[in-house]
Amino acid sequence: MSDRQMDGDKPSEHDEDVTLLRVPVSLDYDYSAGVSASRFLRGIEQGKLLGQRCPVDGRVYFPSRGSCPQHAVTFGDETVDLSDKGTIVTFSIVRVPSANIPLELPYIAVNVVLDGADTILMHVLDANPEDVHMGMRVQAVWKPREEWTTSTANILYFRAIDEPDADYDQYKEHI
């Protein structure tokens, strides 16, 4: 039995001790979007923005996750067609790079409430940082139609449109 004490009697052939262990984790999933999100994604493939209405208070959720997070009820099959125009309710000028956002710095992260929706959509705005402001009217800029898929990436970003700012009262509940 080599029950020998470790007194460095077999010096390491490497200079450095092993002090870090790489443990890559890699898991495979077959992800299901669920019927409700699938309906939304199939809509966006056709350039449609489909919201869903809460049967309790009538508020329109976009994007819909299939149920109302306030009243805990499942939405039915009914969808609501929404405009791709909306109002900026708040924004942030981002000067920190992120691996997942391939935009030049600084870029503008915005919360947009689409016309006809009662919930906000997080997206990015293509504008001069000095010009962005709450209440600003914006519209989605889409990829070329032939590139549309069942993905929210069909909308590249939002940009300002030539409309007067929305009244504060129209969007104040989303701030």
Partner: protein, 355 residues
């Protein structure tokens, strides 16, 4: 100690794959049914606690969306465990014991079908020495089963008998996933899935959710005609490394059972959450339940985890299945078991009693 009872239980059917509903859409009808059963809406409870796993969901902080099924606006008092809902129930029970709640909603949910479950389970292992070898959950269980067989602790015939019994019981349970009547000899004739385990020795992969309402004292009596009072609840953990544990018995189950007072009265019903037949036998023995068919205890009348295994809800469902037999008067006293970690590393025991 305050008197705390299970006063309501609902579950979704256990299915191999919930293709068309996300986790929230699976949960919403379960919570709605619980509200109809008890007259108490989840959002009106003093405390809400859930069990789920982000690794199963394949996204971080996935559990947060589970709250959509409760209706968390205006805000609610809430907590979450990255464990089976049975441990969420333990936390809720402590909260009520501390006098900070009279009612608590507990739920567990999971859709393991989206991933490769036996591999996802490898992520619960020691990340330095074991997980890098990616032992899948069935291989891990196989190591324990062979140890038990080699040591003469149990036989393949006993394992097949547990496999047959649970699936036969499940024929009466419309929520179960594996429901069949096969003889022990038929099961022993099956080829090995991962020697020494046959497919029948393994719990299915199930998607599903379940929910329980807890209430204290007179509030419990208002909500439920015959509450299932929690007379003892305990969970005990062993080291994670198989090499330093006695794999031929479930010592942690035994200690939890002693502390929960399983042996201090007759047990009419036992609901066990062991996902492999040899583990079910080890748990039965640790609980002191007789394997003899003349025993008074009905083990796994629902079919147990071997008939339906919605991970993160399966242990909570055992507590619910046990409680529902007390609600109905079918049983006066029962024990429910939940497990977590590799090869019965951690076990929770809950003793329930009707008045």
């Amino acid at each position: 100690m305050r008197d705390v009872a299970v006063v309501g239980f609902e579950q979704s059917p256990c299915v191999r794959r919930e293709q068309n509903r996300n986790e929230v859409e699976v949960l919403v009808p379960v919570l709605r049914a619980l509200r109809e059963q008890t007259g108490v809406a989840g959002a009106d409870c003093d405390f809400i606690c859930s069990g789920s796993s982000d690794y199963l969901a394949g996204q971080s902080f996935a559990f947060v969306s589970g709250l959509d099924a409760v209706g968390a606006w205006p805000p609610v008092s809430e907590s979450h465990v990255e464990m089976d809902g049975a441990w969420a129930l333990y936390e809720a029970w402590v909260k009520i014991q501390m006098g900070q709640a009279e009612t608590a909603l507990v739920y567990g949910f999971g859709k393991p079908s989206m991933g490769d479950l036996p591999m996802t389970m490898a992520l619960q292992l020691d990340p330095y020495c074991v997980m890098p070898l990616w032992p899948d959950a069935i291989s891990m269980a196989g190591l324990q089963a062979r140890h038990c067989l080699d040591a003469g602790v149990l036989t393949e015939r006993e394992m097949a008998a547990a496999a047959a019994r649970d699936r036969r019981h499940a024929m009466q349970n419309s929520n179960a996933q594996l429901r069949w009547d096969r003889s022990v000899d038929e099961i022993l004739a099956e080829p090995y899935l991962a020697n020494p385990l046959r497919k029948s020795d393994c719990a299915p992969i199930s998607d599903g959710a379940s929910a329980i309402l807890l209430a204290a004292g007179d509030r419990a009596r208002e909500i439920c005609e015959r509450p299932a009072w929690i007379r003892g609840i305990e969970h005990i953990c062993e080291p994670i490394d198989l090499g330093v544990r006695d794999l031929g018995r479930s010592r942690s189950t035994q200690i939890a059972a002693e502390k929960a007072g399983v042996g201090s009265g007759k047990i009419d019903v036992a609901e066990l959450s062991a996902p492999f037949t040899h583990q079910e036998i080890l748990v039965e023995r640790a609980l002191g339940l007789s394997l003899d068919s003349s025993s008074q205890t009905v083990v796994n009348p629902s079919g147990g985890a071997l008939a339906g295994n919605p991970l993160m809800a399966v242990g909570l469902s055992r507590i619910g299945e046990c409680a529902s037999r007390i609600f109905s008067g079918e049983a006066d006293r029962g024990v429910a078991h939940a497990t977590s970690g590799p090869c019965l590393q951690q076990n929770l025991i809950c003793v329930l009693e009707g008045e």
